[in-house]
Every structure is written in structure tokens, then in C-alpha cells.
Point group: C2
Chain length 443, copies 2
């Protein structure tokens, strides 16, 4: 199994390829753009390309296979964009969940706009005619400014050019770039898992750097997550299973990620599966679920790393919580805290701010028994142990914490010592660039 | 009545003195520091002074009258400072709620510190000996960095010097300045109300510019709000009434104010009443409650105006909500939103961010019926009316909104059109200064 996987050429990209691993994951990072054939076009049978010029771009992800099924999770914001409503209605009314394409525009959120649904339908219709696929088998998404009418002439032009590119070749790099707005770099990940003597592939692209605090729900919960992401796989999976496994992976990744704490009107995540690997979900349930969570987590971490103006990735693990909800409340309070984010930006081991955030999170806790440590994934130091302050001025612990705060990836671990639940959240620092970007966005 | 009030010399300070008003309120503002005899020493029988040198300061507020009663509301953070625990325990165990003094230090939060309770007790004991008042009749508060031992030699020195100043004269300016940490200006307000042929006076001081999202509760709720504020009055009021009216005023003011969204471990608000006006609460319940809310709101607005690095005051009124809780959820989501705060900083009428915040607030709403307007207290313009986008590129409404966003005080009004509840929250913009201040705080 491992042998088989090791054959794959991964020399051109960072890969997490331990000898005993059941999977190989290929990641992009800030300095390493995905090559054309990775990401969403890595699994068999998927094509994608995009075109962006100036502020506006369009990406098309396409699987010709008529057995391609799709699921989506969408923002729970009560104000939601027209494509969110369009996809939700279409997914709910479809029994077989068969969809062949997703068309995504950047530059305009198509939210709170007059005639916004007509504009969405037009974007879908043009894509439908070009791909020669029924409109009912195409999903859509938008990202950009809220409350401005879609410039349809430009959008149609971008759809046509994205399609022309797609006709020529599949290009994940174009696809992941055309959906960017304030993103500093494009984001994609892919993974392969070995199932008996076969290989299942999965790949994803994502955009998102601001208005990031996704809280995405299944469409049937009548809820609606501006991060956008598309994950593709050549696994064979039923319409029912695809929805459940997507939601579970979302909870472990995007729904635990915060850049600024503002939940968007447009957040959408899609999973498309076309069955072309010849492997059924039932053959590899556990491994596939793990791989999907990994892909979503890596995309979420890339988003946090690319948080508007951010330079650092922050990971917060809360363990020993009484309930799963408590664990999430506590870890999310820390990644959301402006004071923690600015301390991280300033390399300042001001751990009192972390303690305060846990205290107001609403999670059950006792300040007299918990532990807090800070680390960089390789080493760590306690700041609070058994409810007692360890790191005061002049202590070696505070010195160590100061050093660790300089790192690009920082991990805080909090053990509440109340129960057995744990949760990990992802965030970033907040500095001057965030302010600059967001004070200038529409004007 | 009005005639009587008009006699008071208010030439030296801004006063809200409409002809028909039942009260006169004296406010400070950024450019107008309070004079010595205003603020907490404005009511009869109160003395106050403070001393600050370098990072550390101490303020003492004192009423010699043995009938002085006091109430407090404290942070609901599950991590709380030693003085918060001290005051809570003392207030809960006291039947008559008789207290003569409050001692407050700045520079150290005395939170999550070894021997912190001993240090708090020492600060109280030194004050007790100087004032010749039993320790059981003195309350305390601290503000500053979390997790560092109190430098007791310095704190004792500051207590002694604050007391020496108090012996010489009452000085509200010193008192309001010695409790400052990252505050750019000192904050105090006073008011007088006419009750029959008598006058009741009330005055308050506050500090707070960061870690501001108070959620203060009565001590008996076993909950605990770093803003600090002391309000004094010469009204005669029972131990029971003083607690209830203080909490009601807190809910309409401090508990509706956000600078950064981080609820502190130290937030404390005290109300002291010594009865020296000769007016009983029963004679002026409604008017007094209104005056107390006004004082607390003005102090809260000064805090928001002085939000770390902030230049603008933002007021958000949500009306037409189904419940009071919904109204508060929606208005608080807008003042909390980083994207709204940075848009205000950039004078950017990016109203989609306001709409998105209301949508994810959790408040019951229907995006198809609500109104949103922006104004500066004198004039306003609709951005959304009956769920329809009014302000698109090139419209006069967007132009007007752009002009209004330049103002120093900005008001957003949202009418959800679902019910009859309303709530007002206070906040500020967030710019580069906020980042600078908070990336450098402890180091």
C-alpha cells in the first residue's frame, strides 16, 4: 500500500509522506503555488479553469460524468446571497444530487442586490449553454462586495473566457486564482489514499482572507457559511453519505476557523464526487472521512495563514472540557480575541489575554485547576499549571514564551481538566495590514 | 425647578441645559478635562483624590458619613481578579451595605497572581489605617496587566500619596487620572436633578479604553465586568434599592458598550450614596433612575470615544425587534464587528458589513423587510428600505452616506419590523493606533 503511494512523483511540491502513512497529502503554502494538475483537477475525470481580469474573475469546476453527485454547506447568516439561496433550493429539491459543474465569480457577492437572482440565473445559463449541461445540474457561488449590482456584461465575458480556457486545458492554478479577492495567495490541497489495490484521489481549492468566521450548515437546516471552497474526489458515494461526511469535515475545519469573526453572507463549500476511481465509500469510510477532514483543515489553515494582513498561524487546542460545545466555545474565544490576535502580531507573550478569553467564553471552567501552555509544534512551555501562574516577570518560562511567540506557527494548549472533550480552532494575528485592507475595501 | 437649576454656574464646562430639562448634565469630552470639583466629588460629603507616577497610580473615593451605602456590579468572566472576589464576598456578606471608601490601583490587574489576595488585603489595610475606617467598610479594584505580582512597595507608596493629596483637598481631576492605563484622557460626568425644592447630585469617574466589552452582573448571581467606574450621589437610598437601580443602569450603558469585544477579568462599577441631600429615593425614583442611566451612558460613551486608538463614536439603535434579547444581539453584533469598525475608521460606507453583522447576530430577522439608515444625529439617509437596497454605486444615498461617514459621531439605525423591542449599543472605530497600542502592551 505504502509502496504504491510512494511511486507518485511528489518532487515538485511539499508532501506529508511518512513511511507508514495511509495517505499522501500535497499542500500549497505561501511560497509554493500549486501546479496546474493538482487541487480540484487531481482526481480522475475533473476539469477546471478560470479567468480573472481586474476585479472580476470566474472559475468553472466540471465533471462530465453523469453520475457525479454533489453536496454543499452554506452560511448560517440570515442575510445571504442570491447564489446561496439558489444552491440551497436546488440541492433540497434534488433527490439524486447529481450536478456536473460549479461556476463561481469573484468581485461581487451578489448579495442584497436588486435583480440578484436573475443575474445569478444568467451566470448559470451562460455556463449551461457553453458546457451543454442542463441548468439544473449547475451550482453557483459569488464573492466580493455586498449591495452592488452584478456587472453582468463583465461577468458573462469572464464566464466565456473561463470556459475557453477549460476547453484548452485543465489548470488548477488559474482556477484557484480567479476566485481570489483580498487573498494574498491561491490555496489548494490534494491527497490520495490507498484502498486495497486502488487509489482514491481528492483535491480542493479555497479562497478567503477576510469576513472569515464560517458557520456553515446543511441546506435542510434552513441555514446558510466569504470563504468559498470546492473539493472534488473520484470516490463513488451516495447522495446521502456525501452530505453527512461533508458536514462532519466542515465542523472540524472551516467552522473552527476565524480571521475577523465576521460570518459572511456568501460562505459556501462544495464536495463533488464522480466515482471514477472505482472505489465505493463503504470500502474506505474511516480513511476517506479522515482524508476529507485533512483536506478541509489544510484549506482552512491556508485561509487563516492568509488572513487579511496576517503573518502567523495560530492553533488553539482546548482539551479536558465538559462538553464538545464547551471545548469549541473556549478555543473559538481565543482565536477570536482581538487582544490575543494583536499580542501575537506583536510577539508579546501576554498570556493574561488568553486566560481572560477562556474565562468569558461561556465554557465551564475553574480558574484554580487549569493548565495553559504555548508552543510552536516542536516545543512548548507552561504559563499556567494547575491554576497557578508560572510565567511572571523574570521567570525562564516567560523568556521561553517570548522566544516561542516569534515563530510563524504558534500553538496554545489549554487543559480545562473538567471532562474528556477537546476541540481545535485555527486563527491568525491581526496587524496594520488588516486595518489598511479593510479601511479601503469599497472606496 | 428649572429656574433653580439654571442658577448653577456651568460656564466652564459643556452642559446639556435645555430650558425644559429636569436635569443638568455636565460632561467632559476629549478636549475638556473636568475641573477639580466635578465628577465624584460633586455630590455633598464626598472626597476623592489620586496619585500616579510612571505606570502605577492609586485613587481613593471617600465619604465620611456612616450612613453611606454602596453597591457594585462585577465582571461575569470566570477568570476574575482578587479585588473582584474580595468585593463580591464583602458585598454578599454585608446586610446593611455600608461602605465608606473605594481604593483603586492602576498598572497591575492583580489577577492570576500568587498571593494576590494578600496583596489586595494589604492595599485595603493601608487605606483603612490612613482613613481610620474599618477594613470591612472599604472596597477595592485594580486595572492593568494580568498575571504579574503586585509591586506592593510601589502600591503602598501610591496609597499613601493619594491619601496625602486627599487630606489637602478633593480633586476629581487627580482622581480620574490616577486610574488611567491606556486611556488617552480622563473621564468624568456629573448631573443634578431637582426634587421639589431640593437638589440631588450625582457624579462619576471611569477608566477604560481596551479589553472593553463589559458584561457586569450583581454579585449574588455569582458572576463577575477592565473598565472601572465609581458613581457617587448624595441621595438617601436603601441597600436593596441601590443594587437594583445600579444593575438596571449598567444594562443600559456599560453592558452595551464594546471597544474590542474582550470582556475583562476586572470590570467593576460602584455606586455610593450617602443621603446628605436630604432627599429619599422614594421621592424621585423615576427621575433618579433616568439620571443614573444618563451618567452611566455618558461615561460609557466617553470610554467608547477613547477606545484604544479610536477617533469616532458609533451608536447603533436596533428597533422593531421581537425580544429585548434580539435587539441587544443585533446592536451588539454591529458594534463588535471588526469589518464595521475598520469601515468606520476608513470613512467607508460599506453598509453590506452592517447587514451581514445583523444577519449573523442570532437575532430573529427577515432580510426582505428591514430598514437601515446611517446618520450623524442631525441628518440621516436610508441605505436599505423595506428590505430593498437603496444605496448602490452612483446613487445620491451612497454619496450622502459617504459624507456622513466622515463625521466624528455616527449613528446606524436598524428597524427589524418584527416587534416592539429596541436597544442601543455604543462602540468606536478601529485603526492603526489600536494595533500599535495592543501589540506593545506588556513588552
Amino acid at each position: 500500500m505504502t509502496n504504491r503511494l510512494k511511486k507518485i512523483d511528489k518532487s515538485f511540491i511539499f508532501a506529508d509522506d511518512k513511511e507508514d502513512s495511509e495517505y499522501i497529502i500535497y499542500k500549497t503554502n505561501k511560497d509554493n503555488n500549486d501546479k496546474k494538475q493538482m487541487g480540484v483537477v487531481f482526481p480522475k475525470g475533473f476539469k477546471a479553469n478560470g479567468y480573472k481580469e481586474g476585479k472580476y474573475g470566474v472559475t468553472i469546476v466540471y465533471s462530465e460524468n453523469p453520475n457525479t453527485v454533489c453536496s454543499g454547506v452554506f452560511t448560517s447568516n440570515k442575510v445571504y446571497a442570491h447564489p446561496v439561496k439558489y444552491c440551497k433550493d436546488l440541492l433540497l429539491s434534488s433527490d439524486d444530487k447529481k450536478f456536473n459543474a460549479i461556476v463561481i465569480n469573484s468581485g461581487n457577492a451578489n448579495c442584497f442586490t436588486k435583480d440578484g437572482m436573475q443575474d445569478n440565473n444568467k451566470m448559470v445559463k451562460v455556463t449551461s449553454e457553453l458546457l451543454n449541461v442542463s441548468e439544473n445540474h449547475i451550482l453557483s457561488a459569488s464573492t466580493g462586495v455586498i449591495g452592488r449590482k452584478m456587472p453582468m456584461d463583465i461577468i458573462v465575458d469572464r464566464v466565456e473566457k473561463a470556459y475557453s480556457n477549460l476547453e484548452v486545458e485543465s489548470n488548477n492554478e488559474n482556477a484557484s486564482k480567479a476566485i481570489m479577492t483580498t487573498d494574498a495567495f491561491n490555496k489548494s490541497v490534494c491527497i490520495e489514499i490507498a484502498v486495497n489495490d486502488k487509489v482514491v484521489k481528492m483535491g480542493g481549492i479555497a479562497k478567503g482572507a477576510g469576513m472569515i468566521a464560517p458557520n456553515m450548515q446543511k441546506p435542510k437546516n434552513l441555514l446558510h457559511a466569504t470563504m468559498l471552497a470546492v473539493v472534488t474526489t473520484d470516490l463513488e458515494i451516495s447522495a446521502n453519505d456525501i452530505e453527512n461526511c461533508l458536514y462532519d469535515a466542515t465542523e472540524k475545519s472551516f467552522n473552527n476557523t476565524v480571521v475577523d469573526g465576521d460570518t459572511s453572507t456568501n460562505d459556501s463549500l462544495f464536495l463533488m464526487a464522480n466515482g471514477e476511481s472505482g472505489v465505493k465509500y463503504e470500502e474506505c469510510k474511516e480513511l476517506f472521512d479522515k482524508a476529507l477532514s485533512l483536506v478541509c483543515q489544510e484549506l482552512a489553515k491556508l485561509m487563516a495563514r492568509d488572513g487579511e494582513g496576517a503573518g502567523k498561524l495560530v492553533e488553539v487546542l482546548v482539551k479536558g472540557a465538559n462538553t464538545q460545545e464547551d471545548a469549541k466555545k473556549a478555543s473559538m474565544a481565543v482565536v477570536r480575541s482581538l487582544l490575543v490576535k494583536t499580542a501575537v502580531f506583536g510577539n508579546d507573550p501576554n498570556w493574561g489575554r488568553i486566560v481572560a478569553a477562556i474565562g468569558y467564553s461561556g465554557a465551564d471552567m475553574d480558574m484554580n485547576i487549569f493548565d495553559l501552555s504555548i508552543g510552536d509544534f516542536n516545543e512548548s512551555t507552561y504559563l499556567v499549571k494547575d491554576g497557578v501562574q508560572i510565567a511572571d516577570d523574570g521567570t525562564p518560562e516567560l523568556k521561553k514564551a517570548e522566544q516561542l511567540m516569534q515563530k510563524e506557527k504558534i500553538k496554545f494548549v489549554i487543559d480545562l481538566k473538567r471532562g474528556n472533550f477537546e476541540n481545535t480552532s485555527f486563527g491568525c494575528d491581526l496587524g496594520h495590514e488588516y486595518v489598511r485592507i479593510n479601511a479601503e475595501y469599497t472606496t
